[in-house]
């Protein structure tokens, strides 16, 4: 073996050793955090922000929950003008997931505030039924944040109903403009920040990706 190869071999050994040592320290930190968080409870998760991934993340969690044998309920507050992939797909399993599409498209499509308020109220009644049923392990309230942002629904009333839900039930709330009062009572909140979007490349909303 040449000296160069030998030195390269030593470098690789060094890289592996340093990596393994760093991972050992990381494992300690992660294990400690996991040890500290032991309580099981239904969580309120909010996905907000202007980036892509808010609703799709909620539907990914719905798929996870179904994979663990949990029952899931979905209310879509704003979407509904076009049939979406998530609706097509999850409607295949009516015994496991109840899927309610209550909106009539985005609010800038309807151009009618009074009708939007009425629709939001009907959607919330459906949500309340799901939030009262301990057999449902996860409730997805898709685009609820938008209904709150435009004050179609009163945020304090929504929070009261959310907090009265069964203790082990998870709720996922999605949409831009999550009100601070709701963020304050949530357990997990992620803001989806757009770094770039295919729109800018002149690419239309793609089936399977955006809807």
């Amino acid at each position: 073996m040449s000296e160069e190869q030998n030195s390269a071999g030593k470098d690789a050994d060094g890289l592996n050793e340093r990596h393994n040592a760093r991972m050992a320290r990381k494992k300690e930190v992660v294990d400690k955090k996991i040890d500290a968080a032991k309580r099981n409870a239904g969580v309120l998760v909010i996905t907000c922000g202007n980036g892509k991934g808010k609703s799709s993340s909620a539907f990914g969690m719905a798929a996870r929950a179904l994979g663990h044998g949990m029952k899931v309920g979905v209310v879509q507050f704003i979407k509904g003008a076009i049939a979406t992939g998530e609706e097509n797909f999850f409607r295949r399993f009516p015994d496991e997931i109840s899927f309610h599409v209550m909106g009539e498209g985005y609010t800038w499509e309807t151009q009618n505030r009074e009708r939007d308020v009425e629709k939001a109220e009907i959607a919330w009644q459906r949500a309340k039924e799901l939030l009262s049923d301990p057999a449902i392990g996860m409730v997805v309230l898709d685009e609820l944040n938008i209904a709150l942002k435009y004050k179609y629904l009163d945020v304090q009333r929504v929070i009261a109903d959310l907090q009265a839900r069964p203790t082990m039930q998870h709720v996922i709330v999605t949409g831009r403009g999550a009100p601070p009062e709701l963020i304050a009572v949530a357990n997990t909140v992620t803001e989806m920040q757009p770094v770039k979007h295919a729109f800018a490349d002149g690419i239309a909303a793609q089936q399977g990706v955006e809807w």
Copy 2:
């Protein structure tokens, strides 16, 4: 009707009118953007950042794609030590989605860099098969970013293989630490920013929500 009620009624009318006018302007802006973006193409989507929702967003898009009758392929690069809800669920549809779990848990669990590199290479071979198959409409490469971050795989080789894929195939890449070279060639990139997490409330990772 008292003067007060009358004035409240006028206020409500004003609110509705202003809202409808604002929504009309918004519709114009949104419609223009949609008109400008007309091309159909397979997109490369990256979900990164430290917040919750990266993998779940990818699995939500997988559900959407299945709902449109597309075929989906999934390679999980890092996870795999425990059976996840997404794996349980999507394995129900072997004719529609091929699900490959290649990792052996997180890298700080394995504590062995050489084995991680070998596993990543095997996973990439599986990914390449999916990326060569025009019958597959969407490929999810879950936690690929972590394999790139730790240089288990060469980023330039990965980019070359991604760019050689069928033109209409969508790819979703997830994980913390997306390399800038990959972000540069992606169409849509979202950074999931943690605002708060249930861990801080002492709540353990919840079935259906985190796994």
